[in-house]
Each structure stands twice: as C-alpha cells, then as structure tokens.
C-alpha cells in the first residue's frame, strides 16, 4: 500500500478522534466534578443522534446547524437528571450510583429501539461525499467539519471553566466539596450545571458523529465503553487528557481498521485500556494521587 493511504486514514482517524474526545470530555467533566461515573454516557449520545436524524429527515435541518440546539436540549435533560435524581445518590455507595445509571442506560437504549427499530439510520447531506484535496492527501469534508466543530466546542468549554465565575465555582466544588459549601456555593445547582454541560458535550459530539457514521440504538453501550476507554487512557478528570485520549483512540481504530479488519478495531482500544489501567492508572496526562 502506498504511503498516502496511511496518511489519509490517519488524518480521518484523528478528526474522528477529536469528536470522540469531545464525547469523553463530557464524561470527564462529570466525573471530575460530581464524582459520579456516568454509565449512561453513550446512551445520552444516541438520544442526540436520533434527534439530529429526525430533525434532518422531517425538517431537512443540517446536523451541523442543529449542533447548538441539540446541545441545549441535552443540557436541560442532564441538568434536571442530576438535580432531581442523581443528587440523591451522591452519598450512596459507588455500586448504587452505578446501578442507577445502568438502569437509565437500559431504558434509553430500549426506548430508542422500540421507537426507531434496530436498523441503521444515517444522514445524507449535500456534502456527504465531498472531500478536500491537498496534494496527495484527501480529507473527507464531513470529518473535517465534525473535527473542527469538536475543537471549537472543547475550547469554549475550557474557556468557560477557566475564565468565568461560575466555571471557577464549579472547579471549587470539584476541589473541595465541604469547602465549597462553607463559602456558600449552591453545590447541588453547580453539580446539575456540570452534569448539564457534560450532557451538552456528548450531545454536540453525537450530532457531529451522525454525519460520519450510521446510527443504531446499540451504539449507546458501545460508546459508553469507548468514552471510558478514552478518559481512562487520557486521565480521568483531565480535560486535555480526554481530547488527547480521543485522538489516540481514533487514530488507533483507524489504523487497526486499515491494517487488520474494521470489525476488530475496538479490540485494540480495549487492549490499550487494559495496558493503561495496569501500568499507568492515572492516565497519560493525569497525575498520580497517593
């Protein structure tokens, strides 16, 4: 195989990986602040995906334009899920929280299955088969747009946490729960806000993935796992780690699909996860905590 095929596949993998990274960023933010592991993460993303598909099929609205509205819908859903349900589980044991989210995940997957059926659905936009050519390198337009949008959303999120008062308050909650309460922060609302932001991230990522891949309800659990693989690889709770992990996994999957078989690609992602869990449990950019 000539070299330019590898380069093309690698670029496609990196761009897809950026979208993965954004999805994982949502998981990382929720875990980093609320300390709850969102086992319904991929399932929340499939909700966004089907929203995008329905909006496109019924109203002809381009998924890229629907990015912000769908992210807002997911934000509101995540906000109230945290405020009304998950908040009650903050002090419960880990497996109790986990079961709560597994229950939510099971319900989401199968309600989608009941509504949309098991068959794959996709969105065919006017630019679905466009590509940009730079010398011998060919880049799919859909992946370029999706990867670009992922970077924009991720930068906005990082800026929010770094430069706004609310963002600072949320980081305070993450650093010291009791301390945040002592200085009078409404921790429950900030948690809800954080969960909403995490949900918005995954909503945005889902909307973008719709133009790259076909959607089935079964994607939910698969992407939940993928999000875990990414955040653990990058370092749980680290924002840059999530993006970096996403790119790494996207690249690995693309190369494995090219060199072996596309259906075996997630084996490599899981292989990386096992290695990272054993030898660098804090993740690639994470710091070791005692």
């Amino acid at each position: 195989m000539p070299l330019d095929i590898y380069v093309n596949v690698a670029i496609g993998g990196i761009l897809t990986g950026l979208v993965y990274g954004l999805m994982a960023l949502g998981l990382s933010v929720i875990f980093g602040v609320v300390r709850v592991v969102n086992f319904a993460h991929g399932e929340m993303m499939t909700i966004a995906m089907y929203l995008a598909i329905v909006l496109f099929a019924r109203l002809g609205l381009d998924p890229l334009l629907m990015l912000a509205p769908i992210a807002v819908v997911l934000f509101v859903a995540g906000y109230f899920l945290q405020l009304r349900v998950i908040n009650r589980f903050i002090t419960r044991p880990e497996h109790s929280q986990f079961l709560l989210l597994v229950a939510i995940a099971i319900i989401i997957v199968n309600v989608l299955l009941m509504i949309f059926g098991p068959d794959a659905q996709s969105v065919q936009t006017s630019y679905s088969f466009d590509s940009y050519q730079i010398g011998p390198i060919i880049i799919d337009a859909t992946k370029l747009y999706a990867g670009g949008a992922a970077i924009v959303v991720a930068i906005a999120l990082v800026a929010f946490f770094r430069y706004t008062t609310i963002g600072t308050a949320i980081r305070a909650c993450a650093d010291n729960y009791t301390g945040a309460q002592v200085v009078g922060l409404d921790v429950n609302r900030l948690y809800a806000l954080t969960f909403g932001l995490g949900a918005a991230c995954v909503g945005a990522a889902g909307t973008m993935l719709v133009i790259i891949i076909d959607v089935t309800p079964a994607l939910g659990p698969a992407y939940t796992l993928l999000a875990f693989v990414i955040v653990i690889t990058g370092g749980l709770g680290s924002m840059s780690g999530a993006l970096l992990g996403g790119v790494l996994i996207g690249l690995t999957e693309a190369m494995a699909g090219l060199l072996f078989s596309p259906s075996a690609k997630s084996m490599f992602a899981f292989g990386i996860l096992v290695l990272v869990l054993l030898f660098r449990p804090q993740g690639i950019v994470g710091r070791r905590t005692a």
């Binding site: 497996h95 986990f98 079961l99 309600v111 796992l225 653990i232 084996m267 292989g271």
Partner: protein, 333 residues
Amino acid sequence: MIARLFDDITPRGQALLAIVLALALAAPFIVNDYLLSVLIVTLYFAYTGQAWNVMMGFAGQLSLGHAIYVGLAAYAAAWLFVQFKVSPWIGLFAAIPIAALCGAIIGFLAFRFRVSGVYFAILTIAFAEFARIGFDHFTAVGGSAGLFLPVSGYAKYDLWNLRGGPEMFYYVILAMVVIAFLICRALLRSRIGYYLLAIREDEQAARALGIDTFRCKMIAVVISAGMTAPAGVFIAFYNNNLFPEQVFHISQSIEIILAPFIGGAGTLFGPIIGAALLQWLAESLRVVLEAVGIDMPGSKQVFFGFLLLLVVIAAPEGFWPGIAARFKITRRK
C-alpha cells in the same frame, strides 16, 4: 452437616423452603413447555447470580464482565463436544479450569496493580469485550457465524451428552442452583467467608487485622469464575448454538447482575428471588403486551430498566431482606 447450614432459618422458613423445593421438583409435571422454559431461564439467572454474588455480594468486587466466564466455558465444552464428542460432564473439567484461570488472570492483574472500585468494573468489561471481539474473529470455533451443536442422532433423553427435552434441562439447572446455594452457604460460614465479608465492609481495616486481602480476593474471583463455568456449559447445550455477540455481550453481563441486585446482593436467597421476580414479571408483561397487540423488541428490557430504577431508589438492599423480615424466615442475629 447439611442441617447445620440451615440453623439460622426459622422452622417456618424451613417449612416454606421445603414447600418451594417440592413445588420446584414437581414443576415439570404441572406446567406446560412454555412455562417450563421460563422456569429454566429463571433458574439459569438464579445460578449465575449466585456465582456472581461470591465476588460482589461477599467480597465487594463489582464484576461487570461475568459474560467472559460464561462464554469461555460454553465455547470450551461445546467445541470439545462438536469436535471430539466429549460429554459435557467431562467438558466441565476443561470449562471450569479455563474460566477459573481467566478469573485468576483478571483478578491477579487487577488486585496486584490495585485496580479497584469503578476501575475494576471497567477492567472486567474490557476483558469481556476483548473476548467478544476476539471470538468474533476466532474462525476455528465459527467466528461471528456461531458454533452449532448437533441435535439429532441421540436418544430422546441422553443425560450423558445432555441431549433431550426441556424436562431434563430443568432438573439439571435446578440441581445446579441447589448445589450453588449449598456451596455459597458453606463458603459464607467458613473462615474465608468471614474474611471476604470483612474485605467488603472495609478493606483497609481487614488488612490491618492481618487478613491477606490479596489472597482472599483471588480466592473469591476464582470461585466465582469457576462457579459461573457450568452455567456456560449449560446454556451452550440448552440453546444448541453459540454466538460471540450473545454469550460475551455486555448485556449478558448486565442481565447476570440484575437478579442478585434486585433480590439483594450478598444474600443467598437474593439471586433466586430476584431471578424469579425479574423473569416472571417480564414474561407476564410480554403476555399482556402481546394480548393487546404490541410486539416491540426492547419492551422487556425497558421493563428491566424501570424495575432496576425502582429497586435502586426505593429498596437499595434488594427485596429479600424485606421479605425475610416480613415472613420471619431467618432468625435475627
């Protein structure tokens, strides 16, 4: 010795237990084939739940990858049977060590490298998913096209080769559930059992008391994996087919944990009560939905989801502790 295992159950509880066991023994003569198949599935999940319970309920290690033990054992016994006509009873001697060894490897890596809590759960998922995709590409045992067991050419009831009607499978799985129950009860009364409970409650305190927590957790994972193996052999011979997308799938692992959680993790009756509640309610729901003309894939799982939601919110200890107290089945400690 057996009697000693039941000394914490009130006479009333023992009577109830005897009645339930008698009914279970008589069931194939009472119910039709459809209900019998529901009972078999119920007992299957009661059994796997009991095996899983050794890890989570006793030792507090949340495994979300028990499908890997089911799958490995199922494939080992089925492959031996298809290739060399090896009886599944002999196949058990391959299936159990393979599953136990796999459990030992996962346990060793996890516990040696101090992977715990949610990370441990994710590690177990990763191994199961790795196996699922691996077996999808493992063409010697059929790959994603599946492995099929020959059904014809055997006597009507061939217990040695596990070929026969649902009644035979029913009694096999019933015996497995009873044996698993007795093993778990004996384990819980043993020194190791108390060590495991101590680790579940507070691992650091257990270590401070001089308990070799690494060794105890290894024992728990090996017992749990080894106990899960016969379930895999059973399901392979009961279904007569194996697909990596089914036996190794994460939904299989999740379904295994539902029964003990709903019944009450850490209790011995929990997995049995939970499996019965889960399967019977789900089947009733299906019948009702069919009667009103709704036949949608996924409706059963949605129901599972809501039931689990109800349990985690309203009865986080599961249903068994409440039932036991209400009907005065176990003695107060």
